[in-house]
Symmetry: C2
Subunit: 241 residues, 2 copies
């Protein structure tokens, strides 16, 4: 499995992804699921991938190869984040056309999906989730975040804490706790965690961190969070019978 | 779906269940999923049911009918909670023998499962989870709680807060927040919530509450929890880049 989150705030965007891939519990590995297409002053496009690794890698390779050849039909040439999402969708369908039937014949099937977000000069930041079929949804005011993969464990903490006006700083801490909660319950999600906090209109990635196993900040965050929540419970009004 | 939780603490046991049943989103109803077999001074046995409603009701009806006829082969005669769990398992397999093939023929299948816990005089409190197949596991020191149904949303909060030595009072509040988190994310789990806190060696149910939609305590608990967690995040150390 996988866990990826994208959040759209008034201050900017947050992206986070885990790194675990596996085929059963006896065959797991670590791959970065975060890909960035960045040209300072012009655009920042972040892709978070989940699903079958062969599929997501093929899509990213196609997008990188086209980008390396220039602007035409590539993420460097996209005039809006909507166009960028269409290009990712097109690449997904191309991989599906090539591999889909072969996978279906083996009872598998193409199942890559992506969170795509960022900002292109002249536009506000935008955030999309592209389904395996290539259709997609865009985050809005009422639902400012999108998740893929093993989403349930880490959802309540985001619901409790984050809305559009949450600061990047608080939202980043919340996302890390959301990952801590998920990894504690599910072996298929694992470190390192990749985190990008993109400040609106910066058109530049200035805040990027990778949290490896044993990371001192991540460990301390989890400890203080656990202590803090237990303290909140002690202060909550007791039930009367 | 459903959400049920049983927790084994040094101070006693906690049981909680939601009340929503549904067949698709356009056909939902409310049924209590908590059943109690109680004889003060002798035994308290609590069953939380999840799965197909026809199946769980048939199991409970069988157990009630046998109990009404006396001690033999009934929950009134069980000499231990292990024997009580075996009786529930036997009833499940009996219903499966009657209905299973008919359900499988319609692409459904028997899928009732139960959390069974309580205390019988002469024994310590015990807590079991019985799978649809009728086999079961028992909670222990390292994993003092068992869930069924839509378990993922509400699991992290229990992991953060509860261990065997948590007080009944704090654990009850935590379980209610676990339900609040689940209902916020999943339409298939809904109020009323039934809650029993059983004090070890009391052999009597003295703390039982039903939380209906709009319950003042439940609403206030959720509000204060949300406020408390946001405050914890503000105090957590900020990330440095």
């Amino acid at each position: 499995m996988t866990y990826c989150v994208g959040i759209m705030l008034e201050e900017g965007l947050i992206f986070a992804s885990d790194s675990r891939t596996h085929a059963g519990v006896d065959n797991f590995a670590s791959f970065c699921k975060m890909n960035v297409f960045e040209r300072a002053g012009d655009r920042v496009i972040v892709l978070l991938s989940s699903g079958n690794l062969a599929g997501t890698q093929a899509v990213i390779s196609l997008l990188r190869q086209r980008a390396s050849r220039g602007r035409e039909c590539s993420l460097w040439g996209a005039e809006s984040m909507f166009d960028a999402a269409l290009l990712v969708s097109d690449a997904m369908r191309e991989v599906d056309r090539r591999d889909g039937q072969h996978l279906t014949d083996s009872d598998a099937g193409f199942n890559a999906s992506f969170i795509v977000g960022g900002q292109i000069a002249g536009e506000l930041p935008r955030l999309f989730r592209i389904y395996a079929e290539g259709n997609f949804i865009e985050a809005g005011d009422q639902t400012p975040y999108l998740q893929t993969g093993e989403t349930k464990y880490g959802k309540p903490i985001i619901d409790w804490v984050i809305n559009g006006s949450t600061s990047i700083s608080d939202a980043a801490k919340c996302v890390l706790v959301s990952f801590e909660s998920t990894m504690r319950s599910n072996l298929s999600v694992g470190m390192p965690i990749d985190l990008i906090c993109y400040a609106r209109d910066s058109l530049d990635v200035r805040m990027r961190r990778r949290f490896k196993p044993g990371d001192a900040y991540f460990t301390e965050l989890g400890r203080q969070w656990g202590e803090g929540t237990r303290e909140v419970f002690r202060r909550l009004p007791d039930l009367e019978w």
